[in-house]
Symmetry: C2
Subunit: 348 residues, 2 copies
DNA sequence: AGGAATCTTGCAATCGTTTGCAATCGACTC
DNA sequence: GAGTCGATTGCAAACGATTGCAAGATTCCT
């Protein structure tokens, strides 16, 4: 009898669907407002009442609807992360560097109680990409990963919108808050190392369009000029492995032996390049020196291990989030340019 | 004068902040309802009215608030993607495989007009991870990437929640809808290839805890038993490169020459393993054969290039999204088990 | 011209939560 | 015992967009 009673009451409870705070309020015999306060952990509610409400909530697996809460409070607890893709649409999002950065961002944001909304956009097809994201009302702030060729648009938006931080290159007097490596310095380090390793005819492998890459290229160019060498030869490629391989092969055919030092825009490209050089029967670093950028895990495991310019991705992610949260809190923040670090392994 | 007038009106417009549909309605001289309908592209509004409203919206850069819209329509246009991390917290999210899958998911979802909300959870610290995400009201459906050690919990949730699809391993009679590779078959293919390449003492490299890996291991075990070989030796490691390297070295020290065929749970591990073998002075494939899993880009560029078992990540992502959307539309869907494919390169 | 049929539009309720304000209830003081 | 002071709680108005219903405006037909 007692058992049956207990079961009945259990069934009753299970049968009562709790869709919203009002349902729960009815069960608890209080008003919706009180439930809201209790669940939000405010001090205004009586301890016993709060416990009762919390118990009921747990029992029914009830959680306040974040949409409604967000609407009322005018904040969502979500940070947008957007990756603008250049012409080279498909690949960048699977690019190892961006993905690693994204992973760290997810960790950092979670740590601070924020969710992450990821959006991949193709600015060429959607000029409005950034405003659309911000204006959606779904996010409290936005982190832009990579400026691509959208520097100007980002500047425009920064004018009227504070809750934005960008990963990328810093330019004298720019308005938007950026976190990134000193790419130009990185380029200099790379070129200097190539030359120290005996190279005299340098090339830059990768697209020089994106502003970060352009800066790396420029840095190498600085050094070549200073040392009285021939200008660095740009070997333009896409980033996606499939296309890049062919393109690299093509470049080698054309410029063949005219090159003895290669600065690759990315470790990924450098790795491809190594494979290609091996196929051509060129020895690294004896015939050709090569140096990458990023210091991704892959750099450690190429043969021979890749000399590269290191970016501290984890620190970058940390700073991006930190600066964004400060901005959300109303603070003014400066851009942060991090120093690159040469990691000498065996390819240069 | 005329010029000044024009400027004034421009300023007026610029000064009038349009925060919501009501503001815009006032400007357009219609009711909020009409604006809503116009912006939603419904046929019910007069063409001229719609144009006027659209023009005003464009002019003021107005976009309807998605939170409010979501609240009213009871759908958000957001799909949650959640990655449960095992004990091995930090690394998995930067694991190349997951990240690649994530990239493809982002592409597929965008294609269908959905946004992607990414969440990384540590089930050990938060038993409630899945319900919490689903119950948040922020997402219309959820894609779980990897079952980790959470098979049971996922099963429980699947009982009462339809809008979920999982990437992982399929088990006879399971309730939740899963997309994944036939891991056991993959394990068999790998072992068969190792044996065909001359190996007789097999080892499995990686954690055998996660259900996908366990299935791969079991597949290899099947073959070893069938061929009358000694059981496959499990060499347990973490996934993160830093720890795995040491662990692999440790395993080699202990089991030294007792192994001549290695099946790595992952290409990443296989690549590390190659480096480690090289350091030990062992030749691949002459002394030791090795075979990976996934066919990540890295597999093509190890030295020598890695023989591996291919999973079609892009197809997987496509199917995950396809099945989820069907479920959102109310359809019943079956799990999808994709066949793995042996890619023979030079390590076995 | 009168009436029916079709288009457009406005009205107001609704989604679920939060929060300022005011009301209620005890307890405590003088 | 009346008055005061906190501590709790309820009430109701937001937040911003959507949508069923009904009214008003057009058009069309005879």
């Amino acid at each position: 009898m007692a058992g049956s009673d207990k079961n009945d009451s259990k069934d009753m409870i299970a049968r009562t669907v709790v869709r919203n705070i009002t349902d729960l309020a009815r069960l608890a015999g209080v008003s919706p407002g009180t439930v809201s306060r209790a669940l939000a952990g405010k001090t205004l509610v009586n301890a016993r009442t709060r416990e009762k409400i919390e118990a009921l909530a747990r029992e029914h697996g009830f959680r306040p609807n974040q949409m409604a809460s967000g609407l009322r409070r005018q904040k969502t607890g979500v940070i947008g992360v957007v990756i603008p893709l250049g012409h080279d649409t498909r690949q960048q999002i699977s690019d190892s560097f961006f993905m690693t950065l994204l992973g760290h961002l997810a960790d950092e944001l979670t740590l601070h109680g924020y969710d992450l909304m990821l959006r991949r956009v193709v600015p060429d097809e959607d000029a409005d990409w950034l405003d659309r994201f911000i204006g959606s009302g779904m996010i409290d702030g936005v982190i832009v990963i990579g400026q691509s060729d959208q520097f100007e648009r980002i500047e425009d938006v920064a004018e009227g919108y504070r809750a934005m931080v960008v990963w990328g290159n810093h330019q004298e007097g720019q308005r938007h808050c950026v976190v990134g490596t000193d790419n130009r310095l990185g380029g200099r380090l790379a070129a200097e190392r190539l030359i120290a390793a005996g190279a005299t005819r340098l090339a830059f492998l990768g697209d020089t369009g994106p502003i970060e890459f352009a800066a790396r290229f420029a840095g190498a160019q600085d050094v070549a000029a200073r040392m009285g060498l021939a200008p660095v030869l740009p070997l333009v490629t896409h980033l996606s492995p499939d296309r890049a391989s062919e393109e690299i092969a093509g470049h080698f055919e054309r410029h063949g032996r005219g090159i003895d030092g290669i600065f690759a825009a990315t470790d990924t490209l450098a790795a491809l390049c190594l494979t290609e050089l091996r196929a051509c029967g060129l020895r690294v670093p004896e015939d050709v020196r090569i140096i990458g950028f990023d210091d991704l895990p892959v750099a450690r495991h190429t043969v021979p291990p890749l000399t590269t310019v290191r970016q501290d991705i984890a620190a970058g992610a940390h700073s991006l989030v930190d600066l964004l949260l400060r901005r959300l809190a109303g603070e003014q923040t400066e851009s942060l340019v991090m120093p690159p670090e040469l990691v000498t392994r065996q390819t240069a």
